[in-house]
Symmetry: C2
Subunit: 299 residues, 2 copies
Amino acid sequence: MVNCIIVGSMGLDRIETPFGKVMDEPGGSAFYASVAARFFTKPGVVSIVGKDFPRQHQQFLEAKQIDLDGLKVEGRTFRWDGLYEYDMNDAKTLNVELNSLASFRPVLSERYKDAEFVFLANTHPQTQIDVMEQLRKPKAIVLDTMNYWIDNEREALMKAIGMCDVFVLNEGEARMLFDNPNLVVCGRQGLKLGPKAVIIKKGEHGALLFKDEHIFASSGYPLELVKDPTGCGDSFAGTLTGFLASQDSMSLENLKKAVVYGSVIASFNAEDFGANNLRKIKKLDIEERMEFFRRLTEF
Amino acid sequence: MVNCIIVGSMGLDRIETPFGKVMDEPGGSAFYASVAARFFTKPGVVSIVGKDFPRQHQQFLEAKQIDLDGLKVEGRTFRWDGLYEYDMNDAKTLNVELNSLASFRPVLSERYKDAEFVFLANTHPQTQIDVMEQLRKPKAIVLDTMNYWIDNEREALMKAIGMCDVFVLNEGEARMLFDNPNLVVCGRQGLKLGPKAVIIKKGEHGALLFKDEHIFASSGYPLELVKDPTGCGDSFAGTLTGFLASQDSMSLENLKKAVVYGSVIASFNAEDFGANNLRKIKKLDIEERMEFFRRLTEF
């Protein structure tokens, strides 16, 4: 049985930042999220790549005990071409080729339908709903989205948010979705839509977790060198889902730890291009940085 | 003897935010900073107001044991007219009348020259240097500045930073001064200029403290209602200076606590217009919010 699944894109990226550029870098939300989640669980991946997706990337994932039964191979691989300028805050998308991703409708295998912990990375909210309806006994569904769906598919998005357990979005999306500049107001509004927890990601400034009447404010991990922020949001959410799967409870304490682990693993991710650093680090590196994080915020 | 002094502006503000507007509100950096510092020490104020400055505001400060021997009364009061729009991030200055502040050159009385803890609010860096040269035995000089001096008086500003103990600036100023988007790099560069500690304020996202090789990342206090952010930076720095004066040591632990107290008192300040909330709150309110802050960031 696969207890944790990740549903999202997989593809090949061309990334340019002030620190250099890479071509044909394996990426996509499901790539980052699964490589991050594997520190806590053995995630299954629901995604699609083309026949041109280099076999070595699948071999790497399999070697890390990531289950690829849900990875369809068809047509040509999704490609993204992004540029980060001086301040590294937002990626400019220079080019997108959806290719086989365009017609991908995730159908869960029997082995995956019993998964209890699920990360639904950003995609059309109706696709997210379709996946949620296939799950037989979900315990924690983590849902991400993006500004495009807030603008263009609000109704389906609201329904998807109401069906998930942990709704993850960034601060710009939060302000847009709730039409309010105050993130505390946004977080509380998010809870009213149905999820048990709402997490607002603030990039280098950390994250805010809302659960019932509680708020947890996590600082960002202070990095001296950010080479490439691609995939930080997905590695954050993948870690969160994987950690919850390893704990089997959605307590406030576990959610807090999940957020901090998410920040820590996302910080490693930002230190090198693509998922290169996430592929190399060991559990011990993560625990060391967790300890540093604790000292960093204790007073 | 006055052990803690605050050097800055005092005046009357007209403030408009999405939540309302106020006229003739007492303000200026020294007003906010001294009203905040008084929770920990009996600060002396070095500033200037005009003969039109309502007597009741001075009486209020005196009633709170704030020493006004350094407050000159001359000509007409400094006036500032500011507007905050929807996102409340930056004040638009609609009008400024410097009046008597224009020619103010702070001269410390004998009672003030022995002050050990000093907050030099934003003003011309040469004026800040002149004050520092009058101090006989400073233990902690806290220095603030603004983008205008970074652009136009860089040489004098660099000298002033080199003479202070704690350099406080906001994230935009930090990126501008060190020509680097990375705040960790900026903080470390700041330490190289001479101060024992550098604090980068990030508004609602909290603050970063740099001391030797240590970093402390303080979250912002999550406020559901921000009515008027005027004076938050000055009440933060005033609190910091006042708290250090009450501790008589610049240890990392004390600096961390000073930053959190600063964030807490600034959060009270933002909840009402002008310094209205700072004038009303009690030490117990502050301690309660400190405890809440601890729970908010513990994991």
